[in-house]
Each structure stands twice: as C-alpha cells, then as structure tokens.
Chain length 497, copies 4
C-alpha cells in the first residue's frame, strides 16, 4: 500500500488505501503545554492530515484553536500559540472518515459542565455510537457535530456523579469499541484505553510532567521520556495539586480481558520509528519482509519497494533473499491541493502524479515489487503497469500482509467489503491476473504473527486484533445490528461551517 | 446620534451609539425561499451588520450558511444560494453585543430533535437567559454558543410535548424579556412576539406565501404585501400541507398584557421607510423635529442635520421654524475595514473620517444642529467642534429625543449607566458646556410620545417601552437580580471558530 | 444620476452613471507622509473605489503598496502603514474604465531611472495615449500595464534631460488631453495640470509642508490649509533641501490657453463640501436646483431628491418653489460585493436593492423628482416606476443639468453615444414617455453656466469644458482619428495578477 | 545534504542546503498545452517550490497565470486551466534566490512587442546581468522586476531585427553565464542553452508535438518520448505552420566550446529518475556511494542514509562495503508553512521537526552516516548529535561529494564563501570535531568524476562545471568585477505585489 514510511503528502490522489482516524496528545503542568502539544501532533501527522485542534487551560479560562490542514500549516507560529496559553493542553489530529470535513467536527470537543469545563480528544470508533446518539437525542440532547466523540461528551454532561473524572469513567463504561481517549479539566489530564486495547496509547514524561500520546514518536520529537504503554481497559488520572505537584491515580473500571492490539498499526499506520506494544515498528516490518522472502521466494534481479510503505519490508526481503535492493520507484512529495480532484485529462496520467518509475534500475530486469498491503488493488494495477512500461522483463508482486476480506469498525476507514480485491476474485491467480503481475504472493497470517509477536496465531486466543484478515471481530457490533436507516438522520443539516 | 437614515457604513468608528442586535426574516412555501430571505435580510441590514445566516429546507434536508459581514458581501451570489435550496427558509442578521464575534454565535441556530430538525432566529434579549442556562447545564445540557437563543433550543429539545410547535410554545413560555422569534421545522414556519411586544415583527405575503420579518421595508424590497403586525404575546404557526396549501394557526399562550413597543425603534433603529406599529418612521421622526422646534426654538440662520440619523428631525425642525435646511455636514460612506481600530496618528483626526463640515453653508452662520439622540456625548463634542472650526458664529444643539439615563436589557446594546452623558453631568448647562454648544435642548418625553402616538405619556399605563429615558422597565429583570459572577462562567472557552 | 453626495456604496449595481477615473494626493517633507496620503485618498474615495496605491520614500528606498478595494479596507492599519515609511508620498485611488481591473494597473506607477526612482499618479486621460504607446513599443519599450499613465513613465525614462523634473516636463509636453498629475522622486514632489485645466488640482499646506490633491476635501480631512488651485498648464516643483527646507519652483512649459474646467466636476463628481475653481460645490448644485425651479416650475406637493446626487439641487428647487422638501426615497448604503452581478431572480428586483420608496410621503402626492443628470435613463425609468408604485398621483422629473449627447475622452467613463438617452429619442416628449414621467425637464446650458459661474455660456469662448452637452471638444482627439484596431493589441495578455 | 530524493517538503527549516532557481517546460501545437505544462512543472517541482507561472496562446490572445506556492496547490484545477486556453504554452517553477518573493518576479515574463507578444522562462543566472541592466536603464528602459530574465526581454524588445526569433538570438548573444531558456511567440517555441551547457535542457515529443524541459522526468510524467539533450550553445526554433505542421530549425549562433554540465545536477539537484547528460542520476549517485566506500571504508554495523538526498549513495556504500543498509533516520514530510520561522521554544527542538532517529536500528551500533554533500555543516552537526542521542556507539560521516569552497554564479543559491564548512576549518580533523563525528570523509573530485563520467578529472579540460569544489569558473564573472554597490540600486522599490 502506498505511503507510510514516516510521511504522506498532504492529500491523497485516490482512495486505494486505509486511513487511521486520529492521533492524540496531552500534557499536564508544563508552561509550554500548547507548543509541546503542537509538536507532538506534528509527529503524529501521519495518523490524520485533515484537521487539527488544541485546547489549553491557563488557570482562568479554556482556549481552543481548530484548523483544517496540517499542524505545520497553522500551529506553532507565535500568533496561534499566543492564543493557547496555559499549562494543560490536549490536541488531536484527524482524518475524516465521512465526506463531511467541517470545523465543527474537529476535536478536541469541549463542554461547559456544572462542575467546570471539560475537553476530550479521541482516536478510534464506537460500535454502539449511533445507538447511544439516538437515545440521547430522544432525551433532549442537542448534537452539534456528527462525530462519535460528542456522544461521550453528552454522557459526561448527563452523568449524576459529582467529580469530572467519575463522570468520565461513568461515560466510557457505556461505550463499546476501540478507543484511546484523552480528557482535560481545569486540574486533570485523563487517559483511557478501551478494554481490548485496540488503538495504541503511551505515557511519557518531560521535566517530570506527564504526557499521553498515540505513539512514542511524539515523545521523541520533544525529547520526552517513554514511561509505559497504557494498558487495555486502564484509566489514568493525573491531577495538578494546589502546590503544583501532580498526583496520578490508575483505575480499571471494567472487567479485564486480554489485550488485542490492532495488527494494522504494525502493517501500515504507526510511524516506523515508533515503539508500539514494546516492538519497534520498522523492525517488525523488516521481519515481515524477511518472512515473506522465506514464504514466497522468487528468482529475480532487483527488489523494488512501493514507497514509502513497502520500503522496510523490501529491505528485509532483499537481505533475506540476497537480491539487491534498489529505488526503482521515485515518489513526488509535492502533491499540493488541486491534484485532489484532477480533471479528466489529468486523471488519465493516473498514479504518475505521485510516483514515477526509475527506468535505469528496472529496464530488462526481473523485479520483485514489495508493498505493505493491498486494499482494492487499483493502485497495484497502475504500479505494476508503470514498472512494465519502464521495461521490466518480469514483475513479481510480494505483499507483506495477508489478504483483506473484512471491514473495520474501530477507527480505520475501510471500503465496503465488496470493493476489496480479495473479495472480487475467486483465487490468487485471478488477483494476479487483475493486477497484471507475473506472480503474486501475500504474507500468511502466521507469518505476520511471527513477524510481530514471535509465534503463530492461536485461533482460540489470538494475540492481536486481526478481523480484516480473519473475520474474527474482537467485540460485538451493536450499531451494525440496528437499522442502517438511522444513520441518515444524523446528517440532516448540510453546512460549511 | 450618528447613522440611521436608511443605512450605516459597515463599521463604526466609535462606540458612541446604540446598537440593535438583530433582524429576522422567514418565508414558507416559496420556490425562491433563500433568495427572498437574503433580500429581506439586506433590507434589514441596518439592524445588524456583523454577520448573517440562513437555514433552508428542501423536503429532504436542512441547509445552512453563516457568514461574518454584510448580506451583500456573501449571499445572493449564485454559488451561495445554490447551497440553500428549498421552499422554507429563515434568516438572521446580527450585531454582536459582546466582544465575541464567533461564527458559532451566528443565527439561525439548528438542532436535530427526535421529531426532526428545528431552526430558530431571534431578535431581542431574555431577562432570565442566564438563569435558564445555569439550570440547563446543571441538568446535563451542552451549550455550544454564548448566545441567548441557544437556551430556547435546549428548552425545545427537552420539552416533553410531541409536536415541534407545542415544544416551541412550551419553550417560549419559560423565557422572559423582549423577543421577536422565528422557527422553522420540516413543515412549519412559526413566528412569536413577546407578551409586551417590545421588538417589532410583521407578517406579509408574496404569491400567497406567508412571510414574517422585523420591519416592513423587508417586504417592500421583494414586492410583498404587508398583512399585519404580529400582536404582542402572539404565536403564529403556518404549516405547509401535503397538497402544498398552507394552514395558519394563531394562539396566545400567555396572559394578555398591553403592548409597549420600544420607543427607540422610532427614535433610531427602524428604517425611515418602515411602518412600525402602524406609523411611518420618517413621519414620526419629522414630528419629533417639529415638536422640538416648538419646545426649543432658537434664532438662527441654518438648520443642519447630523447625518444620517438627524436628517428627518432636521427637516421637521426647519419646516416648523422657517429656518432653511442645509447639508452642512457631509458624510463619507466608504469607511471600510481598517478604520475600525485606527492608529493613534489617525485617531487624532477623529470623527472626520466619517463626516466633514461643508464650510460654505456654515461659515459666519448661527447653526441649529439636529441629532436624533445623544448617548455618551463623545461624538456630539467632536461634531460641535467641527462646526465651530468651519466658522459657525453660534452652534445650537437640538436633540430629537429625551436624555438617556438607564441601560436596556431587551436587545439594545447600551453602555454602562455611568458612561451616559446624562449621568455624567448634574444639569443641562453642564452637558452643554461639555459638548461645547451655545445652547442644548432635548425633546421632552411628552413631546416624543406626542410625535409617535399623538398624546402625552400616561405614567400609569405608558403606551411604549421607554425605560432608558424614564427608568420604568416593562418586565422584571431576573438575571440582574442574580449573581453577576455567573456571567463569567459562560465564556470560559475562548475560540476563533 | 444616482450617487454622489459625499459617497457611494462600494459597488454599483448598474452602469447607468458616469465614473471619474481617479483621485490623487501627494505630500513632501512630513514624517507621517503615508498616513496623511491614506487619509487624503479616503476623502477622495468618491473619485474611484476600485483600487488604491501609495508610494513612499524614506531617504533610502522607495516603498509601494497597491490594493484592490477601498482605502479604508486596507490602508491606515498599522501593519500596512509600517510598510510605507518616509517623508515623501503620493497616492492614487482609481475607478477602472476598462474591464481589466488588475493590480498591475493600479497607480502610482514606478520606474527606476538612471537618475533614481520616480513614481507618478494621474487623474485624467490622454487623447494621444495610444498613438504614443505604439511609437514607444516600436522603439523597444516594454509596457507592463494597459494604463495610459505608463506612457508618461516611458517618456520620462527615455528623455535625454538629466534632472528628473526636466524629464517630467519633457514628457508631459508630448501628451495631450486632460490630466492632473503628481510625480515624486527621491527629493521632489511635482504637480502638473493640463494646459486647459480640465481636471482639478489644488495645493495645500500642513505644518509648512506642501500638499497637492484633487479636491479641497482631502485637505479638510487632515486639517491642512488650502493655498490655491494649480493653474492650467502649470508645473509646480517642490524639492526638499539637504537642510530640510523646501524650495518651490513654478513653470509653465506650454503656450497659455484659457482655463476650461470640466463642468461635470460641478454636476456630479466633486464632493459637495469641496471648493472647485473657487466655488463651493454644494452651493453650485443648489443654484442648479434654483435655476431649474425657475426654468421648469411645476405645481406639486413634494420635492423628492434621487439620493444622494440629486439632494442639493432638490433643496434648491424646494427653496425656490416653496414646495416642501421630503425624503421620499431611502437609500441602502450596505450594498456589498455579491450584488454586483446579481442572479436573474434578484435582478428582477432591480433598483430596489439600493433604493426604496418612502411610501408615506409619496402616496397620493404630486411629486417633483430631482436628479443631477441622466445618462442612459435606465435608472430613471426604474425610479419613476418605484415612485408610482408607492402611490404618487403625478411624477415630474427635473434634471439639474442639460441632456448628454457626446462621449468624454478626458477621464470620464461614458457609454457609447448611441446608448445615451438623449440620442435614443427624437424629442423631450419621447424621453418623458420612455422614463414614464408626467413631465420631464432638463436645466438649460445657460442655466447651468449661470449656476456655476454667474453668467450665460459665451459660445465663442466657453468658460468650461462642456462637450458632453455641446459637442465642443476643447482639444483635438488624435487617437480617435487613428485606427481603432490598435486598441485591441494592447490587451493581448489576459492576466489576473 | 538534506532532501533530494525525488522531492522535498514545501518549506525548508534551515538554509543549510543549496537551491536551484528554476525548472522550465514548454510545448507547441498540443490542444492540452497548459495542462501538460502544469504536469511537467509538477515533475520539476524539486527545482523550485516558491512560485510557478504559465503563459499560453490560443491563436487570439496570450494568457498568463502566476501563483506563489506549489504547482499542485493551484494549477491543474479546472478553473485555473480554463484561464489558460490554447496550443502553445511555456511554464516555469522557481526558487527565489533573493529575499524578494514578489509575484512580479514570477516567470514566464511577457512583453508586447511591435511584432507581437513574446514570453520567456529561464533557468540559470547571467554573470553580466547587472551590467546589462545598468546599460538598459541608462538607455531609458523601465524594469519592472528584479529578475535577471527581464534583461533578456528588454534586449529582445530593443533588437533591430524583424523576426522574433532573430531578436531572441540577438539578445542571448549579449548575455553571459549559465542558462536554459524557453521563449514563445504567437507561432514559435524556442529553446536555448548556454554555450557551455551549464544548466540542463532536453527535448521530447508527445503526439508528434515538440516539448522542451529541464529534465526527462517531466517527459515521463506525461508519457512523452525523450528525443535528445539540447546541446550547449544550441538554439532550437519550432514553428507551427498555417497547416498545423511544425517546422524545426537548429542554429548555433556562438563559437563552439566544449560542454561542461554542472556537477551539482548529479550530486543533488536533478531527480534520481532523470537522465541528465545521458546518465541516470540515481545510478550516478549509487556510484558515488560505491567510490566513497572504496576511498573511505570503515568498520561498522549499519549504513544509514541522511534522507532523502543521501539514500542512493548509502545504497551504493552498503552494497560495496557489505554493511547492511538500514533506515536509521525517519523523515517527516508534513512540514507545512508555520514551521518556516519557528518560535525560539520550537527552534530548540531543531532538526527533529523534519527528521527523527529510528532508535532500534541505531542503539549500540557503529553507524556509517551517508549524505550527498555538506554546505555549512550546521545540519550535519544536528544529525550526528541525533544519532548519538539514539545510542550509536560510533558515528562515521561519509559525504558523497568533495568539500565546497566557492560560491556559484550560474543559478545555484550558495551562501557566502566564509559560511561554508570547508572555509571555516583548517583541516578535515577540525571539521570532524565540529560536526561531532568519530570520522569524516568526503568523496574526492576524481572519485566524483569517475562516478559520473567514468574517468578522473582532466585539469586542462575538465568535463564538468565544478568551480564550487575547485575554484575553476567556466566563464568570466563580469558583474563580480564591477562595483558591488550597483546591486543595491536594483531593489530600491520594496513591494508586496
């Protein structure tokens, strides 16, 4: 799959890839809270490029800034940071999973409660979000966004508990699904991870002040120390005391279940330099390439990565197979805005806007093309064609993850099941023919499990969330069981603001 | 007072004037609903130039557009109107009474209820708005704006009645103060005026379709027919039937009290060509000038209006006194944006950015300067000085309304009481000295009542709302009696979005 | 004609009016040079609302800012003024006479000469501009704008004289037509008026520093003293000396001819509070109304001005006739941007976007409608209809200037001759029928001359430029005699920048 | 040096790199001329990200669009392309070498000549540009930009030849330095390369229509065929005939000299997939890494590239040395606008905004760090520190080009000589200490020559332009010999437009 080695041009040209919804970052007790949050979000930019927001509190008042576009387009300039004073801040960067990209959906969301203001930021998706929303509206709630996250805010506002952290716990006990969530009040920074631990969330420390963020790369950018992963089902409540010291309380409000981190964090989402679940992502991806070379060897002249996502696996494949690694595809990082909806005459030039073949290393060669994953296959089709046009004598496609059969409901934006390549073809041979390669192979599920965790998948107690490959969803899917028609009611108001 | 004859440059240079908060317009059943609403709002632009919004419904979906600035800067271009399809629309133009001019405060406000969407637009102010807001938040409501109007929306959302119009009536029975309010649902257009009828609201008709708007000038611009004033305490519910016909229901949910329209609509706010409470505003203002000439005659050479607000009264004064009416002050209508906060070196040039003396008709003359009202007196001071600098031998200030002593709580943005000219000086002579005139006279309260309604004020049953002159508030002031401190909690979140 | 009493909303809805091209302002030796220039241009905004530019010099470097839109939309805010440091500045505000409204056409224009930089700003039009441009291009000049003014810049650059003022004089001796021009160099401020004195130009003084500007109202706004009119054919060269003192040299490089100021400055363009050619414009316009009442009396109930242009003449008409003056038409000053090209459904509402009838003073009345001039008649048609719709029993149109038959080539944007009302009808009766009035009368040319200068027109030596009424052009028209086809070559490059 | 493998984030965080000024593209006779030009410029975006412009001609008129920012931010959307109709187009993308980034400097530049319009676009720099400009101004030319290119336009305008192509040749014979230039007239597309061939320029063909562009990657993106390099000193004139056919004329107006292409095109500027001077750039860079491994071997555990510029050389180094290639530095491509001038608190985080260490592959390892070049050394210093902080036991810096001692005057923006690392230290050891590495080595000049052309440098007849390494400038430097003071005169006018 295209694009994940530490970055992605601001806009994608096609939708033949998966998208994570969000990255979160929060810090308590630091005088540069908003600046550090902006930098942390910048490091998490690969988790969502559509919009970013920050809320801060300075002991007097809450402040918020929300902007469409990159963190580095708006935040961290003195004028914007001057509008976000204070020593507590949380931030959020997002990719829209729906067509609606309005500012009102940009997180963090804020509410003024009787007990004071609260802001929340959330990565993930609730499997009972629509069901809860219907109940809230029936009970007189006014929803201003179409975001799942607002449901939590209403549950907090309506909770009968007194303290804001009790209300927060009360609220998250009612939601199901995958989430890593941050909340801030006038004195507290709260972090919570869903009972199964689908989405990642880590704790760090800078100058003795606690930080929570989606990935360790957001700690590295500011020179913060990694403390530990937040455990599945855990709620960590940090509170600044009148004397400036910070107390930390850890609770597990729900019944314990084994952790099952989302495999796609390893396959595609996380930054290669992040450590997720104790494992360096780059090394895991190289392992995938090594295992792929073992499972699906091929007699060839060069190993060419589909940049940037396929690069680590290609390095692994090359090292294992002894075939030279070469940059046979060059990526143009300057994509810009107007290429989003190119005119017909430009669309005809297709994938070349972002990639071009490096003919000199391809011409007359037998090429092993390594990518991290295949979703619809429409991009693979074009890439293979491009390699052939550049004169390759053979093109062998090697994919460093299994075939994708099932949609996700925990925060990954997947196409409908019948659009997936694996569901459109009866067998591997048909897929291979569709994308135009001489051979095609996917890493096995066991090969993937071994690359990540060291051992094969245990079907009775799988170590990871892997339903897109296996169909084994780790939770029930309440909204999916209800009537689809309710979905439509939620977007009755079209707006640009 | 500066500026009211049918228009005002987009931004005011000083705050020595009163501001109305809003104008409203709504229409049901017309294929050009949004276009007609935009035109109606354009005619009501003098009631608020800060921002404007329109909501429409096309049988499928609600649409909304909200923009800072003039109606004519954004609406009525094909691209914007294309985003507002449908046959029902309500619109709102506003002047911000607080420092916060965020888009989220721009009306109409919208909520998705269990029974379907509802939008409301509101001119006026609630005297128990903060009290209600506190109760709602304690009860778990999340307020997204700092606008009074949102309170009504929450009351509607939480009402236990089934139909949207019953819920609307249920809600407005809980608010106190001055308001003219429009609401729209998927089938209804609802108009309501407060029990005392402080703010104006009229009903009209175009092609057989009902229209509600703040002033008759919004009917005139689209060639619509004036039907009648909405009565104080009246709720009018128009509903489009499945066959396209429109039913109208009129109810008076609250105990009847006599109407008391706000006198300042006549003195300053309403457009001179509007008919308010059955009276042409221009003619009323001319009467004020006639009565002023009778009450406070002066031996002089020319009558000069302070444009544009003082012009009708000056015409009346000139006709009654026989002294020639001359344009001794020229107004520059091209004020633009950057003059809002002029640099110190520019501020020194003061009022001349907007006005200049027409020396030829002033030099060596005894001038009667006629203005509609005086608030702080800071502008009058500069105008009198400008006339003197232009060579007037005498300057006699005549004000076509009484002295202002008391703040308003029904939708007019007044300065704090101790900033008012009348409260800063012990007598008329001191005021006259402050503004630098040779003589100063205000129209008496009876003179004003006679100019408007034909007879003197009856202290036991005053015909109009006149507390700014008399201290006689027409309702209780619940929020004012409560703790001021609560006010601060409502703006805990600073935002630009 | 619509719109001239001291102001005009930013954009016009129709083109049934004449447009002046420009206003100019310059000051030498003052530490607030750019600020004062911005204020002066603000006062001259009625001479052109499309764009404005300022050039300043601070002893080291020239600076320039050019912006589309109103002076008050961009200039005079601290950030913009900070980019215009120095003690010499000239500025220009313009109305585009062509469809092309690009920034590159905004004046002042600047060139770096061998002898140092020079900037020029210009009000008027050359009658040999195209002819000169053709010669320059043939001689290797590169023209960057489509503006007439650039021709002068090239003539200066190519002049063989050494000093910049000698080069300037050399250049203007080659151009023909009507112009008031300012130039600035590193030490000089130069003002020049064409040999016939068609366009106005005055000299003033602030704190002992010389100012040149189009009208006296630009002196008044900054409290500067009026010194004198620049005479026709005069070049005034002010130079700042090393000791800071300012020398002034006056020359008349061309053969003397009698001055003939453009009558339309009195009829429509100049601000009513300006003194043009020694005459207060407001008083002159009142005189036109007085003479009109004498020439074309009518038995009626009210005199109603077409605001704002017709107001002074209406006051004069009312005073002379004894018929009461009333504001029967209310003007909406908040026109905004999107009404420029209204959609068809809005266009149908026509002139009402800007004006509305004040029914109460019109209904059942015999109305004398007074306007300053009629160009095409399309607006008059709508205004008369609007007055009739408001219930007038009779409508008598009185125009305070003669019929317009001929186009202008000296800086006034006139429609083609066959679009003019006077050329479309064989007699007054036919015109009256077209606009729908009960009677129609124009002020005679002698009546106009008497209103302005006190005596009737001397056909042998007319005191003013009046060709639009009489066909008597004050200069030869070289470009008109050449081939029209050359005009097209000049706009070969379409650009938005 | 940071950033060159096929792309660069829109804005650089520091100036420790060299910048190319421009890329050019032109096509004649194709119905999609402007679209193809936009795509070609997109592929050349690495040669300049500041601004881009396109001029087209449709048989009637010339059209131009110029925009600050990326090609993909503005061009290729239907609205912009619709403003560029026609079958001839040339385009230009630029990096500003001066602080002035005004639109008026954006190319192509256009002039309306007596013989019709001409537009030119130019990559490179003239060594006698200022000298010519002084002569032109003395001769009455008005320069509107501060761009070198305008000089050529004036020389064309003033040429006494009749045809536009003769005028073009006449003009370029007067300029000295390095340039690849395109010109278009109403019928012709002209390409010219300087006599030494410093800057690259190639010819291609699409659907039988001629294309000229800076690099072959601009042909690849549109599927065009590569024809040949334009030779040094060659002028190619393509003309569309009345019957639609295209004639081609090739001339060499100047005395032949051997070609000396700029080595930095191979080291850093050109895209790795381009073929420059018949050599694939990626392969040349890999050769540099191979030669570097031979010249400066080191006992180490991993080879880590400084991305993206150092990647091909690192692959070569790894293959030659047998040390594994690993992605030890991750680059963040989402840099955005506000990081350009980061606040002090952010600046402290330094290079990490763009790069981060991938700790897992570095910790405890002996690292060979491979970069393409070192300019000031300030970035290398930070990168080495970052690698050490990530736990490397040793850091060996290897640079795939020689030390830089001398500034460039042919279109590369180099810092002043005394800012260059090589000039700030007396020997390699001192440099090594400064950047904090355990060892430091540069590729020798002969090693570089061999990597590019196969054989060592012949000091008597060097095959390439290499003065930055050797001081051997390929032309005289006329402007440098003149007075520096003249430079200042050229920016006397500060402007934002």
């Amino acid at each position: 799959m295209i694009d994940s080695l530490g970055g992605e041009a601001p806009f994608s040209l096609d939708d033949d890839s998966l998208h994570e919804e969000c990255g979160v970052f929060g810090i308590l007790g630091h005088p540069d809270a908003a600046t550090l949050t902006a930098l942390g979000l910048h490091a998490l930019q690969h988790r969502g490029q559509e919009a970013a927001g920050i809320v801060s509190y300075d002991g007097q008042q809450f402040y918020t800034e929300k902007r469409m576009g990159l963190v580095g387009d708006h935040y961290t300039d003195p004028a914007t940071l001057a509008k976000l004073p204070g020593y507590i801040a949380i931030g959020h960067t997002r990719y829209s999973t729906t067509g609606e990209v309005a500012l009102r959906n940009v997180q963090p969301l804020f509410a003024e409660l009787e007990v004071g203001g609260i802001a929340i930021a959330h990565n993930g998706n609730f499997t009972n979000g629509l069901t809860l929303r219907r109940q809230l509206i029936a009970d007189g709630a006014i929803c201003q966004s179409t975001s799942d996250t607002e449901v939590v805010l209403h549950l907090i506002a309506r909770s009968r508990f007194t303290s804001s952290s009790d209300r927060f716990v009360d609220a998250i006990k009612q939601v199901e699904g995958g989430y890593s969530m941050l909340a801030m009040t006038r004195t507290k920074l709260i972090a919570a991870r869903d009972p199964i631990g689908i989405r990642p969330l880590v704790m760090g420390e800078l100058d003795g002040k606690p930080i929570f963020c989606s990935e360790t790369c957001a700690l590295d950018i500011i020179g913060a120390k990694f403390i530990r992963d937040i455990e599945n089902g855990e709620v960590v409540i940090c509170e600044i005391q009148p004397d400036g010291s910070i107390s930390t309380e850890v609770i597990k409000p729900q019944n314990p279940t084994p952790e099952r981190l989302c495999l796609f964090e390893y396959v595609y989402f996380a930054r290669p330099d992040s450590v997720v679940g104790g494992r360096n992502v780059y090394s895991v991806r190289k392992n995938m390439g090594i295992n792929l070379a073992k499972e699906a060897p091929v007699d060839a002249d060069v190993v060419v990565p589909v940049p940037d996502g396929g690069t680590p696996a290609a390095i692994g494949y090359a090292q294992e197979s002894g075939i030279p690694f070469e940059l046979g595809i060059i990526r143009n990082h300057y994509v810009g805005r107007t290429f989003i909806e190119p005119t017909q005459s430009i669309r005809a030039f297709g994938v070349k806007l972002k990639h071009s073949a490096n003919r000199a290393v391809i011409q007359g060669k037998r090429v092993v093309l390594v990518d991290d994953s295949i979703v619809r296959g429409t991009t693979s089709l074009k890439i293979v064609q491009m390699i052939r046009d550049a004169g390759a004598s053979e093109v062998h496609m090697r994919v460093a993850s299994p075939m994708i059969y099932h949609p996700d409901f925990y925060g990954i934006d997947t196409p409908e099941a019948d659009k997936l390549l694996a569901n459109q073809h009866k067998d591997l041979e048909s897929m291979c023919r569709y994308i135009g390669a001489d051979s095609l192979a996917f890493l096995s599920i066991d090969g993937l499990y071994r690359a990540v965790g060291g051992k094969a998948r245990d079907p009775k107690a799988p170590e990871f969330t892997d339903h897109y490959f296996t169909g084994d969803y780790p939770t029930r899917l309440l909204d999916q069981e209800g009537q689809k028609s309710n979905v439509h009611n939620l977007s009755l108001l079209a707006s640009n603001g």
